[in-house]
Structures are given as structure tokens and as C-alpha cells.
């Protein structure tokens, strides 16, 4: 517990999972909470301390998700995808999920196009971040937000 705002975030998160798993889920492990600092740390752990350049990475998410269990996401990086200029890795990070790292994708020049779509879990409204590592070692960063709404009925 670092700040009062973190308390609020936790209460809200417990809530969403309550909706997902029923009343019995009320006893959630409090340590299971990431925050913005955890996402930064996860990025450094995977990609090192190099500066994050803003741009070249786009994150596509719906503005509103009616359930955080499965939210469609597309991450793309601008790159020629030629033998000497390509995207090596792309990773997705959540500042609010219990684990900040969501997935790490390894590509190569043979991918032809640096674009990946999948579906992710979102433990509440947040700005999802993506980092791409190019073949020249530079890191690029993009992000997008989704509002995760609360369902009508708590027991689902």
C-alpha cells in the first residue's frame, strides 16, 4: 500500500473479480496487484534500461469493454520487416492486472508484417502499453485505454 489512491484501485479490482468468480472470491490475495511502477519494472526486465521512444507502435482497443475477461487488442509496429530492418520483439503490459506482463511476442524479418491480434484480461479500466524492440536495438512505445464497465448482476 503506497498511496491512498492505490487503496481505491484495490477495492475496485476486488470487485471486478468478485463479479467474475462469485461471492467466494472476496478473499483475494492483496499482493496480487500491479501498478504503473510494476509495468515500468516489467518493461525494464524484458527490454533493459534503454530509453522508450514514443511512436511507431500502435495499440488498438475498444473504448468500452462490457467484461474485462476478454478484450480484443491489436498491436502493430511500423517497420519495413526486411532482413536488416525488422521488429525483434513486441510485448504487452497492463498497469492494473495482478501481473504487469501480459505477453511477449518474438518476430523476425520473415513475419512480413509486425501486427498481432489477441484477447486479453483487463482487471479494470486502464491504459494498456506496448513496447517494440527493433533490429537496431531501439525501443518504441505506444498505448491505448479501455473503460471496463461493471456488469448488472454480480453473480455471473
Amino acid at each position: 500500500m503506497k498511496t491512498p489512491s492505490r487503496h481505491t484501485a484495490l477495492a475496485r479490482r476486488s470487485f471486478l473479480q468478485l463479479g467474475a468468480a462469485g461471492i467466494a472470491a472476496a478473499a483475494l490475495p492483496l499482493q496480487a496487484a500491479a501498478d504503473a511502477a510494476d509495468a515500468d519494472a516489467a518493461i525494464r526486465e524484458i527490454f533493459g534500461d534503454k530509453p522508450l521512444n514514443e511512436g511507431r507502435v500502435s495499440v488498438k482497443l475498444p473504448p468500452i469493454a462490457e467484461n474485462g475477461n476478454s478484450v480484443a487488442i491489436t498491436v502493430a509496429a511500423e517497420s519495413l520487416m526486411s532482413p536488416d530492418d525488422y521488429v525483434r520483439r513486441i510485448a504487452i503490459f497492463s498497469p492494473r492486472n495482478p501481473i504487469a506482463e501480459v505477453a511477449l511476442f518474438k518476430l523476425g524479418p520473415r513475419a512480413g508484417k509486425a501486427e498481432i491480434s489477441t484477447r486479453i484480461r483487463m482487471a479494470g479500466t486502464q491504459r494498456i502499453r506496448a513496447v517494440a524492440e527493433m533490429s537496431d536495438g531501439t525501443l518504441w512505445h505506444g498505448s491505448a485505454s479501455t473503460v471496463v464497465t461493471l456488469a448488472a448482476c454480480l453473480i455471473g
Binding site: A20, G22, A65, E66, N67, S70, A72, A151, L154
Partner: protein
């Protein structure tokens, strides 16, 4: 826990504000009829519309495989049910129905299990087992696009009345009936959701909440639990009756299996 209580009262304030206690009046059924699909966010609709990505197809693929695989006794469903003889296209739209042999009301799950015990010499599948869900979803999928049309005459009449009664009776700690949300207040907001008309046309459906495919009875159990009433068992007479009432109430809407719901 505090947050939970706050929410519980929020539910009641929103949902119970302008409801009427009279359950004897004729059913104020929704007009025009709108599938649950119409009340979803666009990206959830898109998932249902995508015949590759819709996760319900994982169960339908399995159901199709089970349908054409010989059981231990040696017969596969597909041996009796071909395009020429006993075809199943459109059949699911007429369930629940009275089983001529026993006189009981059965739904699609019940029919599949009767086929197993009567014709395949196999034990019935457990309700909500992956096998029964997969076969039910596959057989319902064979009727995708067929308008629902059920018989509520004769022996079915009492079942229909019982289902309507269940639908219109207040129950649970919230003292809410199905009709108060799904007949009287559909289209209005309940927290983040828009209340649907409560049709079962997409079931078995993939619910994002469940992260899985599930039966209509699982959905009904969630509805009962949602108003803090004791859920009835899977395949219980109460839920079979409600299933018939819902099918009649949704008459004309098309089967959507595999639906995707929030």
C-alpha cells in the same frame, strides 16, 4: 465487503425503483422482440459474428466430432441422423417439447441423453459436462437461423403455465421476478449494462463472464443467484418449464447458437 454492500444497495435502488408488485396481470411481453445480441457492445457482437474467432465454435467442433464418432455400443448419432433420414436441421427450434414415449417435457439436452439411453445403449451425459454441452451446441447450431416455434398445447400447456408462473414470481433476497427486469424494464440501464429482454436464443452460449460455453440452465441459475434466490438444479422441472415459457415468448426470433454474451 463494504464495497459489496454498497453495490447490493445500488442494484436495488436502480432495479427496484419503479416496479409494480402485481404479478396477476397479463404478461407485458417485450415488443418488438429483440435478441440479447442487440443489447451487447459492438465488439461483443463482432465476436459472435466471426465464425472463426467465436469461441463457441470450439465446442461445436467437438460436438460435430462426437456426433459422428461411434460410441462403445457401436453406433454414432450420424448413422441415424443424415440429410435424408431424421435430419436435424431446424429441429432445435421446436424444443422444449413433449417426448411422446414418456409424456415428459424435454429440452435438447434431454433429447440427446434419451438418444443415448434408448438407441445407443449408453449412459446419459452429466448436465453441463463438456460432452453434453458440445453435442447440444452442435445440434442447436444445425438450426442456426431457424425461427423458434414451440408447441404449448396439450400436455405442454401445464408446463408453459408453470414456466410463466416461475418467470413472474418474485423471489430471492432482492424480491425480484424475471418479468420486472426483462418485461417491464428492458432497454434501461442497470449499472454498465443495458437490460435485455431475456431471450435464450443464443444458448448454449459463450459468456465472457464464464469464459466458457454454458447452457441456458446455467444462465438461469445465474439469474436466480443474481437476485439472491436459491438456484434450481440443472435439468430441473422448474427450469424446463421456464425454458418452454421463454421459447414461446421468443417465438419468431432465430436460433443464434453459438451466441456470445457478456
Amino acid at each position: 465487503m463494504k464495497a459489496g454492500l454498497a453495490l447490493l444497495s445500488a442494484f436495488c435502488l436502480t432495479a427496484c425503483g419503479d416496479v409494480v408488485a402485481d404479478t396477476k396481470s397479463p404478461p407485458a411481453q417485450p415488443q418488438p422482440l429483440q435478441s440479447g445480441y442487440e443489447f451487447l457492445q459492438p465488439q461483443t457482437q463482432a465476436l459472435q459474428d466471426d465464425d472463426f474467432a467465436n469461441p463457441g465454435f470450439l465446442w461445436i467442433d467437438r460436438g460435430e466430432a462426437l456426433f459422428s464418432t461411434a460410441t462403445a455400443s457401436g453406433s454414432a448419432c450420424s448413422e441415424c441422423h443424415t440429410d435424408a433420414s431424421l435430419p436435424l436441421a431446424g429441429a432445435a427450434a421446436h424444443y422444449p417439447k413433449i417426448d411422446a414415449e414418456s409424456g415428459d417435457l424435454i429440452n435438447l439436452e434431454g433429447r440427446i441423453n434419451l438418444c443415448r439411453t434408448r438407441h445407443q445403449n449408453e449412459a446419459a451425459f452429466e448436465y453441463e459436462s463438456d460432452e453434453l454441452l458440445s453435442l447440444t451446441a452442435y445440434v442447436a447450431y444445425l438450426s442456426r437461423g431457424t425461427p423458434i416455434s414451440v408447441d404449448i398445447e396439450g400436455a405442454a400447456a401445464d408446463w408453459y403455465a408453470r414456466g410463466r408462473d416461475y418467470f413472474e414470481t418474485r423471489r430471492g433476497q432482492f424480491n425480484l421476478s424475471c418479468t420486472q427486469c426483462h418485461d417491464d424494464n428492458w432497454g434501461k440501464k442497470l449499472r454498465g449494462d443495458t437490460i435485455s429482454q431475456g431471450h435464450g436464443t443464443g444458448f448454449p452460449a459463450y459468456r465472457l463472464e464464464w469464459q466458457s460455453l454454458g447452457s441456458l440452465h446455467r444462465r438461469l441459475r445465474d439469474c436466480d443467484a443474481g437476485v439472491r434466490a436459491e438456484p434450481r438444479p440443472y435439468g430441473s422441472d422448474d427450469y424446463l418449464a421456464v425454458e418452454l415459457y421463454l421459447a414461446k415468448r421468443a417465438e419468431g426470433l432465430e436460433i443464434e447458437t453459438p451466441g456470445v454474451r457478456r
